[in-house]
């Protein structure tokens, strides 16, 4: 059901990663100031951007769930948050490594982008205890959607508040009106972000099909145990 298109998508992801990584290592110039270390930029920034976009997308899925009352959208929203949280952990770790290398510290507290990203991550980390503290399935799905919408609106607001409160140490790569990056770096960055977005989509799809297969298996087992009841025709992946 959800496995449809998974194979071409996976192949596209692998191919795009091969292209973007070879661009990163063989095409993009070595940055004069930071040297080879700057290559982590092509991993760290796409991870962070894709995870933030994933959070917002999860909020949109949650809106659709509340509007259409279809449990599938709740599963989409759940899986999108799940994969985005994993990407966010990756973004935090790569960001720390980069910060240690270029600023000399693992973590810089007066740096708005880092702090706001951490706050967003902490908020989404509470999604799991929040979701599983609610027993009733439908209510759980509804409340989780409300959480996803609230937190999705919180993401941009949080960046605004934190950015205003602190200095500007973080590289504003694109803020300086087209003057920030040379063309070859921009192309490489674009390729990396596309491959990262493809990876996110593949993982979401993969997780969804795994969850739905799990749910179907459970339903079949239940049907075997009690042969009298008709098997449910609802195919929503289980996220429990």
């Amino acid at each position: 059901m959800y496995g449809k298109g998974l194979r071409p998508l996976s192949i596209a992801t692998v191919v795009s990663f091969a292209i973007s990584l070879s661009l990163v290592f063989f095409y993009a110039p070595i940055e004069a100031d930071q040297g080879f270390l700057q290559k982590i930029f092509y991993l760290h920034v796409p991870l962070a951007i894709v995870s933030l976009c994933g959070f917002v997308v999860a909020g949109i899925f949650a809106v659709l769930h509340l509007r259409r009352d279809d449990p599938r959208w709740d599963a989409y929203s759940y899986v999108a948050i799940h994969i985005s949280v994993i990407f966010a952990v990756g973004g935090l770790i790569t960001g720390s490594i980069w910060a240690k290398g270029s600023w000399g510290h693992w973590w810089v507290w007066n740096e708005p982008t880092l702090v706001s990203f951490l706050i967003v991550f902490l908020l989404y980390a509470t999604y799991y205890p929040f979701r599983y503290a609610i027993e009733d399935r439908q209510r759980q799905a509804r409340y989780a959607s409300v959480f996803a919408i609230t937190a999705g609106a919180f993401v941009p607001l949080n960046f605004l508040a934190v950015r205003m409160s602190a200095s500007l140490v973080h590289p504003r790569v694109f803020a300086t009106a087209e003057g920030g990056l040379p063309g070859s770096m921009k192309l490489t960055f674009l390729a990396s972000i596309i491959s990262m977005a493809l990876l996110w989509t593949t993982l979401v799809k993969f997780e969804l099909s795994a969850k739905s297969a799990q749910g179907q298996l459970k339903r079949l087992r239940r049907a075997l145990d009690a042969p009298s009841g008709p098997p449910s025709s609802r195919i929503a992946p289980e996220v429990h």
Binding site: P129, Y143, V146, F147, I149, T150, F154, A161, M164, S165
Partner: protein, 226 residues
């Protein structure tokens, strides 16, 4: 259909009357705040605070005291069947949200009426910062009440009720606290009241209030379905 204004007044009146008769939340909140100030007084070992430290002590205390009240906001509805009554009543369900936000704002204002003068007596050298600080307090209260009501109404129907409110609410109000402390910090400076970027931070507070009040109003319907 009962007009929303009547329903709003009825629910708000019921909440305030119940609080006045049982005194469940407010005395605990005020006592918590005062005790925290005493702990800060000895923990920091200073006779007076100023600037960022004063703002941090004030807002951390008010936030945690508010969490106590937010935790209990919907307990009566849950235990005495108030949710079912609201569902049955011929009223717009979002009214429950606005009435609860209003009740929480009243609680927070009363809490601050008690706690902020005590804070000033304990830690401040002059009371000149208090009038502009009141503006910050009111704006922060609105945002805190909107997010608090939203989270509280969800947490009360879960297994881990008292755990979820602080867990989910604290990261959610971080921008609000950043704006509130940044707005209060120059007011509490030792050399006298300064209005450095005061208006900007008030606007951030207002934006936060607006977004979360509208959001809560929009999604609250879905939380009451059963």
């Amino acid at each position: 259909m009962t007009p929303s204004r009547t329903a709003f007044a009825a629910i708000l009146g019921k909440d305030l009357r119940a609080e006045l008769r049982t005194l469940q939340s407010l005395p605990a909140m005020a006592l918590f705040a005062v005790t925290s100030f005493v702990i800060f007084r000895f923990g920091l070992n200073r006779t007076s605070l100023s600037g960022g430290l004063a703002a941090g002590v004030l807002w951390a205390t008010l936030l945690f005291a508010a969490v106590l009240g937010i935790n209990r906001l919907f307990v009566a509805e849950r235990e005495e069947g108030g949710f079912d009554a609201i569902r049955l009543a011929p009223i717009d369900r979002s009214v429950l949200f606005t009435a609860k936000v209003a009740a929480l704002i009243v609680y927070l204002l009363v809490l601050e009426l008690i706690a902020v003068p005590i804070f000033a007596v304990f830690f401040l050298n002059s009371a000149r910062a208090l009038p502009p600080l009141a503006m910050v307090l009111v704006l922060a209260d609105i945002g805190l009440a909107a997010t608090g009501t939203l989270i509280s109404s969800m947490a009360v129907n879960s297994r881990a009720r008292d755990l979820l409110v602080p867990l989910v609410l604290l990261p959610l109000v971080v921008p609000l606290m950043i704006a509130a402390t940044a707005a209060s910090e120059p007011l509490l400076l030792l050399g006298g009241v300064s209005y450095h970027r005061f208006g900007t931070w008030l606007m951030v507070l207002g934006l936060y209030d607006l977004i979360f009040a509208l959001l809560g109003y929009a999604v609250f319907d879905f939380l009451l379905e059963d």
